[in-house]
């Protein structure tokens, strides 16, 4: 069967000429652009977060998920891009964002009052509208069982919607939710809390890049 299909293809190609050849060729994906996180070790690990793809950043509380998010927003807004933060529980802190170098006038902040379904709808609408360099769906404080209610079909639709755009879609949660729909998964773990005398200095964390069955790690620090 395979041999006859190949023969048929070869016959059609030769009949129609070379100008029709691409129609029968393999649809090669263009080289993905990426958005750097601004954290050297994570960028060396991942090469930046993919544009036109879905990235999941997950981990427990105080593992540096929001720190990575703000660093990403700072990078994107400094490139004059517009970004959107879909904040499911309303935890976004403008003061921290400004200290991290985020240009607040370029950030569309949407608070969903703890409703993950509203967050999903808002993300869907923003992805369809286009024009945003970075869209962050923040489910970090959403209970895992509620976040898991978002179906794989929804995640697939989101991924498909951003596929041929310059938008980097990032989901932040406690666990993996999009599974195979995500282009990149970053698992963050807290390794140490840093104290300077009696002052909180920051925390040290490790990021594991989990995709394509290769787990690689990078350490980074967050401080004040």
């Amino acid at each position: 069967m395979a041999t006859s299909a190949a023969a048929l293809r070869s016959h059609i190609s030769s009949t129609l000429g070379l100008r029709w050849d691409p129609a029968f060729g393999v649809d090669r994906r263009p080289v993905q652009e990426s958005l750097p996180t601004g954290i050297q070790s994570i960028d060396e690990l991942t090469g930046g977060l993919p544009r036109g793809g879905l990235t999941e950043i997950f981990g427990a509380a105080s593992t540096g998920r929001t720190t990575v998010m703000l660093s990403l927003l700072a990078q994107a807004t400094s490139r004059e891009e517009f970004c959107a933060v879909i904040d499911t529980t309303g935890a976004f802190d403008p003061e921290s964002a400004e200290c991290a170098g985020v240009r607040l006038p370029q950030i569309l902040w949407i608070r969903c009052g703890g409703n993950a379904e509203h967050a999903l709808k808002a993300t869907d609408l923003l992805v369809q509208a286009g024009g945003f360099g970075l869209i962050v769906m923040d489910l970090a404080d959403t209970p895992p069982q509620q976040a898991r209610r978002i179906s794989l079909a929804s995640w697939f639709r989101l991924r498909h919607a951003v596929e041929k755009t310059a938008t980097a879609l990032v989901a932040i949660a406690q666990n993996v939710n999009a599974a195979s729909c995500s282009t990149l998964q970053l698992n963050l773990r807290q390794t140490q809390v840093l104290w300077s005398g009696k002052l909180l200095k920051g925390l040290r964390a490790e990021a594991d890049s989990r995709k394509h069955y290769r787990v690689r790690s990078a350490a980074f620090s967050a401080g004040r």
């Binding site: 490139r79 949407i110 509208a129």
Partner: protein, 423 residues
Amino acid sequence: MFACLHAPGNLPLLLECAHQFSPLVEETSPDTVVLDIDGLEPLWGSTEEIAKALMQRNGVGASVAIAGNPDAAIHAARGIAGVTVIPIGREAGVLAPLPLNLLGGSASPETAETLDLWGIRTFGELAALPPLGVAARLGDEGVHLQRLARGEADRLLRVPGEALIFEEALELDYPLELLEPLSFLLARMLNDLCGKLAARSLATHEIRLRLDLENAAPHTATLRLPVPIRDAKAFLKLLQLELSDRPPGGPVLKVALALEPVKPRVQQHGLFIPVAPEPEKLELTLARIAGIVGAENVGIAERMDSHRPDSFRIQRFVAQRSEKSPAAVLPAETHLAFLALRRLRPSLHAQVLVQDGRPVQISSAPARGRVLACAGPWRTSGEWWLPNAWNRDEWDIALSDGGLYRVYRDRDAARWFIEGYYD
């Protein structure tokens, strides 16, 4: 080419006659009007035929003059009775015998007196003076007068601008109760209004809707757009979202729509500037999202000029790059990122066990455990003159569950709260 009609005391008739020929009519003085006759040849024939038609139609025996610029036409009409057609380039010769007093208000009394003293009586005599000498002795005014006398002074007509009103109203034969038939009416009205805007090369940034209702007060809605738009479909969708969000309180008897005309947005895109959301699409998207989460939850966070913790307000999101915004400077790649705080809004009440003035155990819904390390207290207070003053001791604590929290003790209420956690 410009035509001038001059007849003392007959301005309304002169204007009526001029408007029969052209919409570009200048009301120069109570006895003179000027009109632009460019492009009238296919309708009225040659310039001479236009002049004759003007003569026949004015009905008050006005003198008619046609020239290449408005001022030459005015002076010829005022100085020469009947019909005068001045070919372009021959203005100086035709105007030369005219008396200088025809310049009227163009010359100040001092200049007129000076010219009189010099013995200059006609346009031709003024035109013949050496231009440099005139400029040295009479300045800019003298130069302008000489250009008028030579028939060289060109200018645009001062056409009074008509008031631009983009409003439509529709009284209904029977009251409408559903939004769908109302949408059809709105679509038609918006199409008409947007067509009128397009004909004037205008857009709008404000749409006002008024619905007169049966047995209820009128329902009004005003949509303000961040950038001027002229897209009837987008307006219709915005109005539909607004009406579904805030429906009228009764059957609709009359629909009135008004658009505020403004100049359209002109934006130069660059090859290397990142794309931004399209304003029309973004407005619709934001309206839809506002319908889901509430308008007060969508926008830009703007920090307040206050020391109060977590003080900000939500402003409208506009995807417009400010020209004054600082140039793109990429933050350097770093090993040390800024430690972010995630806030719990409102702060959550917590049971805290304190020993020797320091928290040792915390129990609340999001955080529960033994305090491994803590830093504090940092005392902050402010706005004591307001009912919502704050007065607190803040602590950073590391709990046995791995969380890194910011907690505070409200000193007035003597209660502990979890403000958020570092993440």
